[in-house]
Structure formats: structure tokens, C-alpha cells
Symmetry: C2
Subunit: 182 residues, 2 copies
């Protein structure tokens, strides 16, 4: 059965998601991950080549979930309503207890630029930009897309560093002022 087969892997990914996001990647040691997962050390190295691969896998799971969110949002036909819904979700996330900013930009300052995790981060931003471009009906290099990316990153980093969810609302206001103008 595949259920039991990779239960250790699933437990590790759960623990990694919690600890890497909450405490940071470098600050979270292997031993703490396996302790939180309730799993033996060998199970980690049987399922992943090393810590780098675990980090990459953790971000890949996040990316997959993000993709599903985008797919849901794509069902909203009106472009402005879709972008509004995107930032509404951000506001809801920021208000939740465990909010700590964008997991990808947080990871970006911790991982090596040539690690497998870094490629997941790049891929995240590619898809984010692509979503905005598709919604605005413009090229991915368009200034409007860049403005939306700035608003996203600004919202996430501001709200997490200053521990003030209302900054996501400020970013949303900015988006309305900007997208209205085009």
C-alpha cells in the first residue's frame, strides 16, 4: 500500500513545512525536523538526498498549493475582480495566526543560489508574473505586471516584518489605484 509506504515522507514534509516556515530554514536543524516528524534520521536520508532536497520539496509542496489557488482564481472572469480576490486572500492569510510572509521570498535569502530550492523560488515568481500578465491581458514584461509583483512582495514583507496585517490592505488600496488607472 502506498499509504504506509511513504508515511515517513509525508510526516517529514509536514514537519518541514511547519518548522522551516516558522523558524527559518538555516535555524532549523535536521534533528529538530525528524524529532517533530517522529521519524528516524535514516528515513529522511532514504526519502531525500539531503537537507537541500528536503527544502526544495517543502517549497514544491507550497508551489503546488499556490497553483491550485491560482486555478481557483482563474474561474473569476472579470480581471479586476480576480485581482481583488487575490489580494483578499492575502489579507485573510495575513490575519491568520501563523502568518510569516511569503515562504518563497523568505527562503530566497536563506538558500544557496544554485540549490534545487532556488529553482522552485524562481518558478514561483514566474507563475505569479504569468498569472498577473494573463489577468491583465498583457505581456509578462509589462509595467502593470511589475507593479502587481511589487504590491505582492511589499504586502508580504511589510506585514511580516512589521507584524501588521493592515499593510496588506494598504497594498490592496495601491493595487486598486493602479489597475483603475490603466
Amino acid at each position: 500500500m502506498t499509504v504506509t509506504r511513504s508515511s515517513a515522507r509525508a510526516k517529514l514534509l509536514d514537519a518541514a513545512a511547519t518548522l522551516f516556515y516558522r523558524d527559518g530554514i538555516t535555524a532549523t536543524g535536521i534533528d529538530r525536523v525528524i524529532a517533530h516528524a517522529g521519524v528516524a534520521k535514516a528515513s529522511l536520508y532514504n526519502n531525500f538526498a539531503g537537507k537541500d532536497e528536503l527544502v526544495a520539496a517543502y517549497l514544491s509542496v507550497r508551489l503546488e498549493r499556490f497553483d491550485q489557488t491560482l486555478a481557483t482564481l482563474m474561474e473569476i472572469a472579470d480581471p479586476l475582480a480576480r485581482i481583488d480576490a487575490f489580494f483578499d486572500r492575502l489579507e485573510a492569510n495575513a490575519a491568520s495566526g501563523q502568518f510569516g510572509g511569503c515562504p518563497f521570498s523568505r527562503a530566497a535569502v536563506e538558500v544557496n543560489p544554485d540549490s534545487p530550492a532556488h529553482r522552485v523560488i524562481v518558478e514561483f515568481y514566474r507563475r505569479l508574473g504569468s498569472f498577473f500578465a494573463q489577468t491583465l491581458g498583457v505581456d509578462i514584461e509589462d509595467a502593470g505586471v511589475k507593479q502587481l509583483i511589487v504590491c505582492y512582495n511589499g504586502a508580504m514583507s511589510s506585514a511580516s516584518v512589521l507584524k501588521d496585517p493592515s499593510l496588506v490592505g494598504a497594498a490592496h488600496d495601491l493595487v486598486r489605484a493602479s489597475t483603475m488607472r490603466r
Copy 2:
């Protein structure tokens, strides 16, 4: 003589500024700092209580320089022109080779919340908000101030993570659209 007196301290702060900003704080060990500074290990612990204090001192130097920049900008009487000049400087910095985003927000994800360095980070954001509030002629809790902070953080983090200085320009566009509107 005071010149020779604190030459080791100055060399350490120079090395810390370069390495902490370029490679990250946790990734940069004490040994690498003293090697880059060309200084003995004991000199570090004679001048600073420990790594935490060195990190705080590094950020304090940055904060001091930032204060001088703000003081210069305050000479510009027109509020909108002053904010324009602020983002013009950001664009110039982002275009320079060693750009790696906001040193304070980068440090924020690496340092302990109750470390001396963290207080410097908080102080930076307090002064940034105060500068914006003063320029707009509003309270520091005003929505306009929050929007400007979002633009600043968005510009810095986007440009550094995506290695694309043009995102600072996008943030500047956003600012123009926003401050015009008020």
C-alpha cells in the same frame, strides 16, 4: 591617538558590512569576518560583546547613514518632489552592482526577535514611517504612509529576489499614481 585606537573596530565594521550584507548574517561566521578584516579574534571580543553586538553595530552604522540620507532629502521643500527623490535614490542603488535589497528587512528574517539587532531594525522602520508621515503631513498611522512603506519594501525585496532593478521603477510608478490621487 584615536586613529590607531579603534582601527580594529573600524576594520571589523567594514568587514561585517560587506559580508553580512552580501552573504547573510547566519551564513557568515566569526572566523570569516576577522579574516576579511585582517584582525585577531580577540580584537573582535574586545570591541564587541559577541556576534549579536557586532550585527547590531553593523545595522546601526547603516541606520546612521540612512538618517543622513533622510536629512538631505528633508531639504527638498515640495513633498512630492521629496518622495520622488527618495525613490530616485532607491533606483540608483538598485542599479549598482552590490545591491542586495534592504539590509534591515534581510536581517529581520535572520536575527532573534529579542536581540539588540532587532531593535535597530524596528527603529529603522519607525524612522522610515516618520519620514513619510512628515512629508505627507499626516499621522504615522495614516494609510498613505502604509502605502509608501509597502512600495519601499516591495521595491527592495522584488528587485533583490528577482535581480531586476526595473522593479524599483515600477514601485516608483505606483507611488506617483498613489500620491497624486490623494
